[in-house]
Amino acid sequence: MKIIIIDYGAGNIKSIQFAFKRLGFEAVLSHNIDEIKAADKVIFPGVGEASSAMKMLQQSGLDAVIPTLKQPVLGICLGMQLMCNFSEEGNTKGLGIFDVAIKRFSSAVKVPQMGWNVISNLKSDLFTGIKENEFMYLVHSFYAEDCTEAIATTNYERPYASALRKDNFYGVQFHPEKSGVEGSKILENFLRL
């Protein structure tokens, strides 16, 4: 199985690569469009700031490629947020795969949300073998609003979409690569899709 992690200069991708290695799979970093298109599974990572990450995607032409991919694609953290319509962070227009906007937590709560919180209302094969209210590790200041494409929700200030799905596109706000054994199961499930 050919697993590609999209390399566009954003984020700590080493951890994702190692998480697959622990599962016995090699995930390759690439920004080559043909290679990405030919992969069996595509991981779209990202940490950092939305508008600068989006600029890096545009410079490499990946912004046009990602929405046309046909194989299972998993956006993680900022990767998931960039797959949405719009982000309040830097007033960034996203890839528009998920029909939802990204908003900032208010100062009623500590921002960023940092640590382990639970995922609930699980609705996807991505979560096979994962129990309701399982703990996942999250670090983020912006969130996707709850919507029809939500396949998991988490509560921080309000219930929000902590995982999204549309067709072959999946997105998770949490870091499965940093969420212990259960997080690793989610990556394994993704490989089985």
Binding site: N12, K14, S15, V111, M114, G115, N155, G180, V181
Partner: protein, 251 residues
């Protein structure tokens, strides 16, 4: 609900844990990777590695260690000690660290906090503050707490928050090593006046101290070293106790 975090801290010198770790059935208690894996399995929520190597060679060994931890440990970890530039942080993050912690270098050049936050995002910038209460005032100290500065703890914490810190790791030097409890009065003030997570450090001796720092100190996370390393407090039992006190924890 977001849970309160329990964070064991490992001091590393030339790639090995120091301060003597006396831990359940370990073949090599000086091996930070074995220890880190064990802590992850025992329910630690995060780990902090503090590099106390004084030499360039020691620092290079640290990068190898970070890479190995990232390879083998499936929970987040922070690396601190001797970090003074964007390039230092870039290397650590590329080696797989999730967050970095800066201390003296931020005091010497506060713009470093802005630079790191802009380049890598607030989420990976932890500012560690060592402070001591002297005649009623909490004064920030430099160089592992040995040199007092003119900075006031609360003013400095607010400044680094403005500059883009994602989290504060506050060590009370009055409490550190005493095993008499965390500095909850200062912690609750930090937690109330700032809007980023606060990690309590210094003073952990009993389970009740953790209960107090979450309930009274309003801390978001608590860090300790020796009580965990010597098995005086077991993480699982600690978390069960916190739960009976209705403190949200990951169990």
């Amino acid at each position: 609900m977001l849970t309160k975090r329990i964070i064991p801290c490992l001091d590393i010198k030339n790639g090995r844990t120091v301060k003597g770790v006396n831990f359940v059935n370990l073949i090599d208690a000086g091996d930070p990777i074995i220890l880190a894996k064990q802590y992850a399995e025992l329910g630690a929520d995060e780990l902090v590695f503090l590099d106390i190597s004084a030499t360039l060679e020691g620092r290079k060994t640290m990068l190898d260690m970070v890479l190995k931890v990232a390879e083998q440990v499936n929970i987040p970890f922070t690396v601190g000690g001797g970090i003074s530039s964007v390039a230092d942080v870039d290397l650590l993050l590329k080696s797989g660290a999730d967050k970095v912690s800066i201390n003296s270098s931020a005091i010497k050049r506060p713009e470093l906090v802005n630079e790191l936050a802009e380049k890598f995002g607030n989420q990976c910038v932890v500012v560690a503050i060592d402070a001591k209460q002297i005649e009623g005032e909490w004064r920030v100290h430099l160089a592992g707490g040995t040199i007092p500065t003119e900075l006031n703890l609360f003013e400095w914490a607010k400044e680094v928050e403005r500059r883009g810190a994602g989290e504060i790791l506050f060590t009370s030097m009055n409490n550190d090593g005493t095993k008499a409890g965390f500095a909850n009065e200062a912690l609750v003030k930090l937690s109330t006046e700032l809007n980023i997570p606060i990690i309590a450090s210094g003073g952990a001796g009993t389970v009740q101290h953790f209960v107090d720092t979450f309930k009274i100190g309003k801390s978001d996370a608590a860090l300790a070293a020796s009580v965990f390393h010597f098995g005086e407090i077991k993480i699982l039992e600690l978390k069960q106790a916190l739960k009976t006190h209705l403190i949200p924890v990951r169990l």
